[in-house]
Symmetry: C2
Subunit: 220 residues, 2 copies
Amino acid sequence: MGEGLRLYGYWRSSAAYRVRIALNLKGLDYVTVPVHLARDGGEQHAADFRELNPQAQVPVLRDGHRVIRQSLAIIEYLDETHPDPPLLPASARERARVRALALAVACDIHPLNNLRVVQYLQAQFPAFAEQRDAWMRHWMALGFAGVEALLAEHPSTGEFCDGDSPGLADCVLIPQVYNARRFALDMAPYPTIVRIDAACRALAPFEAALPENQPDATPG
Amino acid sequence: MGEGLRLYGYWRSSAAYRVRIALNLKGLDYVTVPVHLARDGGEQHAADFRELNPQAQVPVLRDGHRVIRQSLAIIEYLDETHPDPPLLPASARERARVRALALAVACDIHPLNNLRVVQYLQAQFPAFAEQRDAWMRHWMALGFAGVEALLAEHPSTGEFCDGDSPGLADCVLIPQVYNARRFALDMAPYPTIVRIDAACRALAPFEAALPENQPDATPG
């Protein structure tokens, strides 16, 4: 496999999008290995990919012979192996705040909006087809309301989720805002999130990580 | 509020159960503050609790004047502020593996089995009542299959998820196995998980953290 970083992902996977932002913020070169989540019943279920990740999910990062799974674990790994610039603050208290913001999206919104969950509900409940967008927006709205309150009330919030440099929480939040826009969620109740999203999207590492800027993107 | 650790939780919340295990493994004294998730429409929605956590979720840890949210962020915080015994291994590679195991449960199983999700589906789809247990077991089986493969194939797996001391991944896995038993999931396909669960349950820190051993437990 050789040395260097290889990111197995899918252009529209928001978990892969998180890792792309982190890699770009660190200024790390990496090779994109597309795994098409819909084609042929999903390439993530193919035997050779399952050998890399028995969970049959993207993203997976290869660092030489090392295989790292789960987007938040990958970002923490990148932060430990390439500390500059840091994606987590220095103090335990502040690190906990940033991780809690990231987990509020990664555990409390994204898993419910995941393709496999939507597919399961559609298969079980024919009526779900009409309610799919309401389902997506329900969990995004609930999650964003919590995140907005955590950001708006806190002195550590700056131009970004934590101070004036982008970090772990921004890596996770911005892909979720991207999804929210796809599903036409009204973002007016979340002015701090909207402001931070705009600040992030103005930066090259976020721009380069956009789904439509990936080699496997097939918009439309 | 005074000094010391206060854990806001609910006896049957598996996210609170994770934190109880971590506190006990560290040998830390703490005060339990019960938040009843079902009584009076859910005490987590009360104004005074929302002030502590605008996400209206348990657990929340108070450490003196500090408020820490999200179970995985709380456990990482405890590991940083009370390093002995460590709940994460020393190397970046091994830390990533342990975090990925924890996230495989915390992101890919637990959010789908959460009470609020079940309540939403029951409200939207009357047919869901009959399918609730199948829904719970579906996501647990899928998630455990991935976790089993990650554990069974790996030389770092020991008596516990990582080597021969319990750590972060065990804190997250064992509450999920407890839930699986409640929903009568067939555990035969996951022999490594079953073995690690038995090793953990034999230890006093896990025993003391059991839902039925909490002051607010109302079994039956």
